[in-house]
Symmetry: C2
Subunit: 93 residues, 2 copies
Amino acid sequence: MITTNEYFNGNVKSLGYVTPNGKSTLGVMNAGDYEFGTSTHETMIVVEGEMTVKLPEASEWVTYKAGEAFEVDANKKFQVKVSAQTSYLCQYK
Amino acid sequence: MITTNEYFNGNVKSLGYVTPNGKSTLGVMNAGDYEFGTSTHETMIVVEGEMTVKLPEASEWVTYKAGEAFEVDANKKFQVKVSAQTSYLCQYK
């Protein structure tokens, strides 16, 4: 089954699926500022565009471009700013 | 705007968006055999999983793994087989 998810009034949409390595989502964000919460460890990989991210407990914002990745532990919040439509792969592992 | 598309009774779903380089879709396919038609030139990049593809006018099937890409000209048909959920990025350029 491929799940379809919408967040932030449709400004973030994702498709969920399963690989031999675990659950993944592919998603797209419209330009905007978002705060996400994790329930498991997540690895986020930028597919196209770029995201400026403030990781949990971080004091600085860091920009990740296409092909770059960051990780977030379970039960944390992190903030993301995007200035144009940006796509990502999120692996729950 | 992020468009949501479904094909083949929901066995292929995709999200459409726009980058400075043109239109893109991120998609997921369930296990199955599919025939797709192009209306513009497409570059397909496997994100996770693998696709076995018979390109237009090709006589052989070729398997593309995560990170690998193939291109299809406009107004062509190509066939894809996937044996497990597989995700892709399609760039319309």
